[in-house]
């Protein structure tokens, strides 16, 4: 059992760094999305590699976007990154498009910080869905794009992942 105080400080550490990366991307690039997407892809890769090489947690192989997302969520649960699978609701509109709702996202404070500094939701690059897309790409070789469609700190965030 992780000490809740320690857990809280780890969450704040995530907030501090992710917000800093997002802010810096905006300082340097007029269109920071491409940079941020690459950051999330690398983060997903690092998670999988560290989980597998250093902790022996293997990720389930996947052939479809939904399978890959479910495997990634399972990995997140095993590594303690996610609290509960019910934080995510996946809805397969068709095999090429998954719509998802995210509850109690660890990156929520980062997005709130960014939103307080930038003009609108369209400028949010969503680290959560971005990492899912990175994970899907690594596991299945299916290149995907994504978009955040709703941001509501009181309820949940929503978005979609779609095959290119």
């Amino acid at each position: 059992m992780i000490d809740p105080k320690h857990m809280r400080s780890m969450r704040e550490l995530v907030r501090v760094w992710v917000t800093a990366i997002e802010e810096t991307a905006r300082d340097f690039y007029p269109h920071p999305r491409e940079f941020c997407v690459r950051v999330y892809e690398n983060a997903a890769y690092n998670l999988m590699t560290i989980a597998s090489n250093e902790y022996g947690i293997k990720i389930k192989p996947a052939a479809t976007i939904k399978d890959a997302m479910e495997s990634y969520i399972e990995l997140g649960l095993k590594t303690g990154l996610f609290e509960d699978a019910s934080q995510f609701v996946l809805s397969e509109i068709n095999p090429n498009r998954i719509e998802l709702s995210i509850f109690k996202c660890i990156y929520l404070p980062c997005c709130e910080d960014i939103l307080a500094k930038s003009s609108g939701i369209s400028e949010l690059t969503c680290p959560r869905i971005g990492c899912f897309v990175g994970g899907v790409g690594i596991m299945t070789n299916i290149a995907c794009t994504y978009r955040l469609t709703a941001f509501d700190p009181t309820k949940c965030c929503q978005g979609y992942i779609e095959r290119i």
Partner: protein, 583 residues
């Protein structure tokens, strides 16, 4: 029942009998009955003690108060007794005065939520009563109440203090030195509402208080009081670490109007704190002074996104003819031919001349110099030369940001007069400037720019080609030339552009596109391109295609349950290059 019978019952072994006796004693007037009730406060049974407290309250005897305020009663182990005491104290508000309020405040921090809740609700009704009476004697009680953790009650107390009037401001100024942050914040709010000029020295002293709420209130109060003395502390509060303080300082300084513009501009030029810059820019945008336009436009070059974005928003808010003119000036293109300078910077054998040429290019802030300067930087053989090139590039990069931001403002404001300046930037060497110019044209729906936009369809940067297709989808509807250009983009090497082209063809509504879109569905490897082509065909009246149920194919991993009877298979495998292992 007589007094003596009731006294006899108080000695009964059964607690229920003693409890009832205490209750009955409260109905009998006189000191003797009263003294027996007081004795019952020491009863070993909780319910009897509780009954005694209610009985003391019912007697309305002022002497009850001194017994209710005894620690053994106030801090009884039993939470029901503490709750009963709070309710009883509520009945002695007028005679009790400050000591009662003090004890209620202590009980509002009780470990039991129910006790705390009761204390707060009694204090709340106390504040209501004071407000209704408007008695200046109640000021000290209200000051006590300002230390309560409950925000709503504190808010009411502040309102009551304001309502009572300003005859007691000296008491407030003296009391502000107390340690409690909520007391300081409450008093500051009241002094601010009274616009109490005499309080300025003490308020200014508190402007660096360690508590955020106190500083927030100080900023608000200084804004209400106004005057030259408040400008400097407010300028300092604009750079506060707490966003709420900065926000209040912005509102406060905006209230001072045009008089503070010069000070704000001086501070803007002096500070390197991006949050302070943001606050100053917000204030300047709200004051809407023409004097602030040039400093604001300078901020479009800032290295921080936060500062640039706030400036854009302020300039949009300002929207004056003068600011538009200055924004168009930012978009002016340098008319000087810089080839000679570039040649000197690249090839001259005299290092001093090269340096001068580099410096000149930096000062001209011409984006055309970026490729050459970058080239010299790569091949630079001296640290000195490197530094000079970096300085020049930083200056030019600042102008790139300024142009991007100016294009954003003009686009958002839909300034048609700026279109010639915007068009000039479609041939800029910086792709981000071209992109932003295209975006402005799209927002303005400036169809008169169509030729210039179409000319960029073969641009070397995919980001620009994609934007061109998107802009043509907005301004090119009904133009047959546009269809041909977008059709050509269906063969673009970049899949994102093919996807956008397919989408735009559906929007343009030209049936000429149908066979090309059908071909894309048959040949393109990318699902989202095919999906957009299907949607476009649907728009053009062809509804026989759908890729919604297409699955991602992987060699040997998919086994079709319908084997060779592919007609029956609900899944449509349309990707020709994938191999299906049909078991």
């Amino acid at each position: 029942m007589t007094l003596s019978e009731l006294v006899e019952q108080l000695k009964n072994d059964m607690a229920e009998v003693r409890r009832r006796a205490v209750h009955e004693l409260s109905k009998i007037p006189g000191p003797e009955a009263f003294s027996h009730i007081v004795e019952a406060l020491d009863d070993k049974d909780d319910e009897v003690r509780e009954s005694a407290i209610y009985a003391l309250s019912d007697t309305k005897n002022p002497d009850s108060l001194k017994h209710l305020l005894k620690p053994k009663v106030l801090f009884d182990q039993n939470s029901n007794i503490r709750t009963a005491t709070i309710r009883a104290l509520g009945n002695f508000r007028k005679v009790g005065g400050l000591p009662v309020i003090g004890k209620l405040l202590e009980l509002s921090r009780d470990p039991e939520w129910f006790v705390r809740n009761t204390a707060i609700s009694i204090i709340n009704s106390e504040v209501d009563a004071i407000k209704a009476e408007g008695d200046i004697k109640s000021v000290f009680s209200l000051l006590y109440i300002l230390q309560l953790p409950d925000k709503e009650v504190r808010k009411k107390a502040v309102e009551s203090l304001i309502e009572i009037g300003r005859d007691y401001v000296d008491i407030l100024i003296d009391s502000i030195a107390y340690q409690s942050p909520s007391l300081k914040a409450g008093i500051t709010r009241v002094l601010g509402e009274f616009k109490c000029h005499d309080a300025l020295p003490v308020l200014i002293r508190l402007s660096d208080d360690e508590n955020d709420t106190v500083r927030e209130e100080i900023a608000r109060a200084l804004g209400n009081i106004g005057g030259n003395e408040t400008v400097l502390p407010l300028l300092n509060l604009l750079g506060d670490i707490h966003p709420g303080v900065r926000q209040n300082a912005v509102t406060a300084i905006v209230n001072q109007g045009e008089d503070v513009v010069e000070s704000l501009i001086a501070e803007l030029r002096h500070t390197s704190n991006k949050y302070k810059k943001k606050a100053i820019i917000e204030a300047l945008g709200k004051i809407k002074s023409d004097n602030a336009i040039m400093p604001l436009i300078d901020c479009l070059q800032d290295i921080h996104h936060l500062v640039r974005l706030t400036t854009i928003n302020s300039l949009v808010e300002l929207n004056s003819p003068k600011s538009i003119q200055h924004l168009m000036d930012v978009l002016c293109v340098n008319p000087i031919d810089i080839k000679v300078l570039m040649d000197i910077a690249l090839n001259n054998s005299d290092l001093r001349l090269r340096i001068r040429a580099i410096r000149a290019m930096g000062e001209l802030k011409d984006t055309r110099a970026i490729p050459e300067l970058t080239q010299i930087l790569i091949n630079a053989d001296s640290e000195f030369l490197e530094r000079e090139i970096m300085n020049a590039l930083i200056k030019i990069k600042g102008v790139v940001w300024a142009k991007i931001c100016a294009l954003q403002v003009l686009g958002r404001l839909k300034i048609r007069e700026a279109l010639p300046f915007i068009l000039l930037h479609l041939s800029d060497t910086d792709e981000n400037i071209i992109y932003q110019a295209l975006d402005a044209i799209k927002i303005m729906k400036a169809s008169e720019a169509i030729k210039e936009v179409m000319a960029l369809a073969e641009h070397s940067e995919s980001m620009i080609r994609n934007k061109v297709v998107s802009v043509l989808g907005t301004i090119g509807i009904g133009n047959p030339e546009v269809t041909d250009i977008v059709l050509a983009r269906l063969k673009d090497p970049d899949r994102h552009i093919r996807k956008e082209a397919a989408r735009v063809l559906g929007k343009l509504g030209d049936k000429k596109a149908i066979p090309f879109l059908e071909e894309i569905i048959r040949t393109c490897d990318f699902w989202s391109v095919r999906r957009n082509a299907c949607n476009a065909l649907n728009n053009l009246g062809v509804d026989k295609y759908s890729v919604e149920n297409e699955v991602v194919l992987k060699e040997t991993t998919i086994t079709c349950p319908y084997k060779d009877d592919s007609e029956q298979c609900p899944v449509k495998y349309v990707v020709s290059h994938c191999v299906i292992n049909k078991a």
